[in-house]
Amino acid sequence: MVSFKEIKEGLFTFDEPDKGWVVEVKTAVDMLKAVEKVRKAGVKRFDTFSPFPVHGLEKAMGIKRSWLTLITMIAAFTGTTFALSAMSYIDLVDYPLNIGGKPSFAWPAYIPIMFELTILFASFATVIAVWKMGKLGIRYNHRRPVSPTVTCDMCSVWIGDDMTKEEVKKIVGDLAKEIHKVDATPTDNSLD
């Protein structure tokens, strides 16, 4: 049985890298190793940055799983229910018409639309949830990556806890290619 706490944890959100240290590493493998070390060192606020999803990241970051699917499921049921209830209300109560001699509540004919609305609600809810939890959206378009090449080929680990560079170095060891500091969420106002 899944606990409520687990679900809540599974709906974790993105933390803005507003302070702390960024550890740039050479490869995705190094990143996995590094983040595992960071987690094991008891760092509270940390994240990784990479140009692509890396297998094993969940495990390395100590996240059991993403409970995004729950949102999908709720939305899917909402879609089905909405479609069925709206069509039944319209055909039975609001404006019943005799169409082709079929009964007003012609449930087999509702199936395609119920299906479509299920999918529509579910997919939009999923995407919206990712936007919410990943703090994505047009209003975040000024956000910059923690280092210039992080969306190209650089993998890095961000540590948001208060610690010194030395402490960071100690945790990640020689996996670090470079360590630099962040003071605030990097933004780009060049076009404003």
Partner: protein, 201 residues
């Protein structure tokens, strides 16, 4: 949150504007200028002339009928003209002038005023007055009680303006309510349905 509110307001304003521009014609309150300043308040209100005196075909025809000028002249021939004690002189003069216009510009020239239709149904709506009056007019009641649901009380209007939207929803709501039991039983009893062919053919 504030931003969401802002967006919602923007969307609402946009939809509102779209509705005003592309929505259905604004019907209520429509009171076009008429060629002749006929006053329903005086005739139907003050003098309590029954609607059917002028709209004489309303109980048996599709159309209520706009009276011919001869109907006006029944009363307004010179002998009957002076019975109204006018509140003031200018009022009297105005009425005098109007009746003069009626008799000189129209009656003696064999011309009818070109009225602008106020309660104008689209061409694809087949509205017939007679069965509606039949259904709405309770025995012993004044004719106007049957007219008021759709036309409002014209006896209180100096200038007649449209009182109800007379759109399809207006019609359908009335067609539905008599029994609220679904259209089939109702149709069998009263011949009122909400199927399309009731009004559109």
């Amino acid at each position: 949150m504030k931003k969401a509110l802002k967006i919602t307001i923007n969307v609402l304003v946009f939809l509102g504007l779209a509705w005003l521009l592309f929505g259905p014609a604004k019907q209520i309150g429509y009171a076009p200028e008429q060629p002749f300043a006929y006053n329903h308040k005086i005739h139907a209100g003050d003098y309590k002339i029954d609607c059917q005196y002028c709209h004489s075909t309303v109980t048996y025809s599709k159309k209520a009928g706009i009276p011919g000028t001869n109907v006006c002249m029944n009363c307004h021939s010179s002998g009957v003209l002076g019975f109204r004690p006018f509140a003031n002189k200018s009022d009297g003069k105005r009425v005098q002038k109007l009746i003069g216009e009626l008799s000189n510009n129209y009656w003696s020239k064999s011309k009818s005023p070109e009225w602008t239709r106020i309660h104008n149904m689209p061409d694809h709506v087949r509205f017939s007055h007679a069965p509606h009056v039949k259904a709405l007019l309770k025995p012993g009641a004044e004719t106007k009680t049957a007219c008021i649901p759709c036309h409002g009380d014209v006896a209180t209007m100096d200038v007649v303006a449209q009182q109800e939207s007379l759109n399809m929803g207006f019609c359908v709501n009335c067609h539905r309510t008599p029994t609220d039991k679904g259209f089939v039983a109702e149709y069998a009893k009263n011949g009122v349905g909400t199927n399309c062919g009731m009004c559109h053919y």
